[in-house]
Amino acid sequence: MFQPVQFGRDNQLRTRMFITMLGLGLLYGVFMLVAWQFSPWYLSIALVMVIIQFSLSDKMVLASMRAKVVTEHEAPKLHKMVTGLSMKAGIPKPKVAVSDIATPNAFATGRSQKHAAVAVTVGLLNILTDDELEAVLAHEISHIKTKDVVVMTYASFFLIVAATMSSFLMFSAIFGGMGRSRNSNAGSVVMVALLVTFIVRIIGSILVATLSRYREFSADRGAAALTLKPMALASALQRLQGSMISMPKQDLRKVEGMNAFFIMSAVGSGLAGLFSSHPSTEKRVQRLQQYDQQMAFLR
């Protein structure tokens, strides 16, 4: 009987994800308590708006990326790859969509495995080899298998609530608002609530981005397990990032006179790295190289 591919456990990664999610849970718990105390109306309205937004998110994401669901007849190669990979992963076959955007990219969406879709842009189809394309699709399938879309949706839920609330509060602070007539301290209440939402947004953004980076590593690992070709994904990532394009094509003899001395570019992303939803390509490629060495005996 066919057995789905098991991705194996990366305990270090799982522990990090658990700690990050715990941190988010605590942060959001405190936020809810404080927000409910200070401005229950704003919180309720923001919650309703975000719930509506999330319930429509599948279609909104596809529409915002100008992605159209395609049939097997329209995209046989894509369908064949997605069918094979979802069978290996042991999940229902997701819908396949193609966006007419020229920027190479791919994404998975859907509130559950049954409602999932994998989308690729025309730009991606144009630049990747078949192995690389399969590796990218395997990465997206891994996101679906591990319910990353759902996890990240929940993880960022209260972040968006906080952002929506802070917009309301800003509006209220600028134009005067709810509660002023009832309570002389309303202005300071609004300011405290604004401060709380601001802090939640900053810390929440860092934690959500951290979680997202961990889940990208996890999806890379899943893709490596599905295809047994980690380097195909590494190659695709490099190509997507443009480093393949920047890999020199000029012969060494034509350029060696230009730079006389040892040159090293500065490394380090600093503060910006904290808010990045994806790990650096270099780090991802390094991990994929490790997987490649570990999997050498399987090929």
Binding site: M231, S235, Q238, S243, M247, P248, Q250, R253, F262, Q286
Partner: protein
């Protein structure tokens, strides 16, 4: 005695140290990575401005009088763009690396060290999937003090590289050899006389 040994990845090495490093990884390259030396190594030297092919060759041969000819077998050839190639021949990669190390001293003594572009180590890698040997090259560039891989894709009708294999090769050896991580420095060398 330590139970654990921590091996540091070499970062950037001078010519002599880099050649020693290449000599010391020869066994690993051959036994674990299925790459064998072709029996040749080359040192690529840039010509002076307005220098003719004959002058470049004569200058290199003059400088190489300091090399031990009883121990090392080498020739000088000039390529179509006027660069000089000193091609060293031998059976063992360790000996070839040692010879290239000595050549560095010879070129330094002759004042040519700032014109040395690269040391090129051509090898053959056994592609088990397709059951054939493929050429791969390790280039040591003194400018960046690091080794970079260069793997043509095997089709002589065009000049294209196998980036996937280059990345894999670099990853496999980076702990032992001072490789350059910045792919922007991974320059190709087409039409080599080796």
């Amino acid at each position: 005695m330590c139970l654990l040994t921590f091996k540091r990845t070499p970062k950037h090495l001078t010519w002599a140290a880099a050649m020693t490093a290449m000599g010391s990884v020869a066994d690993r390259l051959e036994q674990q990575l299925d790459t064998v030396t072709t029996g040749e190594v080359a040192v690529l030297v840039r010509p002076e401005a307005d220098q003719s092919h004959t002058q470049t060759k004569a200058e290199l041969e003059r400088a190489l009088t300091g090399m031990d000819r009883t121990r090392y077998h080498f020739d000088v050839t000039i390529d179509e763009v006027g660069h000089g190639w000193v091609i060293l021949r031998g059976d063992r990669l360790q000996d070839l690396a040692q010879g290239v190390g000595q050549m560095g001293d010879v070129f330094t003594a002759a004042g040519l060290d700032d014109r040395v572009v690269a040391a090129v180590f051509p090898m053959r890698w056994y592609d088990a999937t397709n059951q054939l040997y493929r050429p791969i090259y390790w280039l040591y560039q003194p400018r960046i003090q690091g080794f970079t891989p260069f793997v043509p894709d095997g089709d002589p009708s065009h000049e294209r590289r196998d980036h996937d294999l280059e990345i894999r090769m670099e990853a496999a050896i980076r702990r032992e050899l001072p490789t350059e991580r910045q792919t922007a420095e991974w320059f190709p060398l087409w039409g080599m006389p080796i």
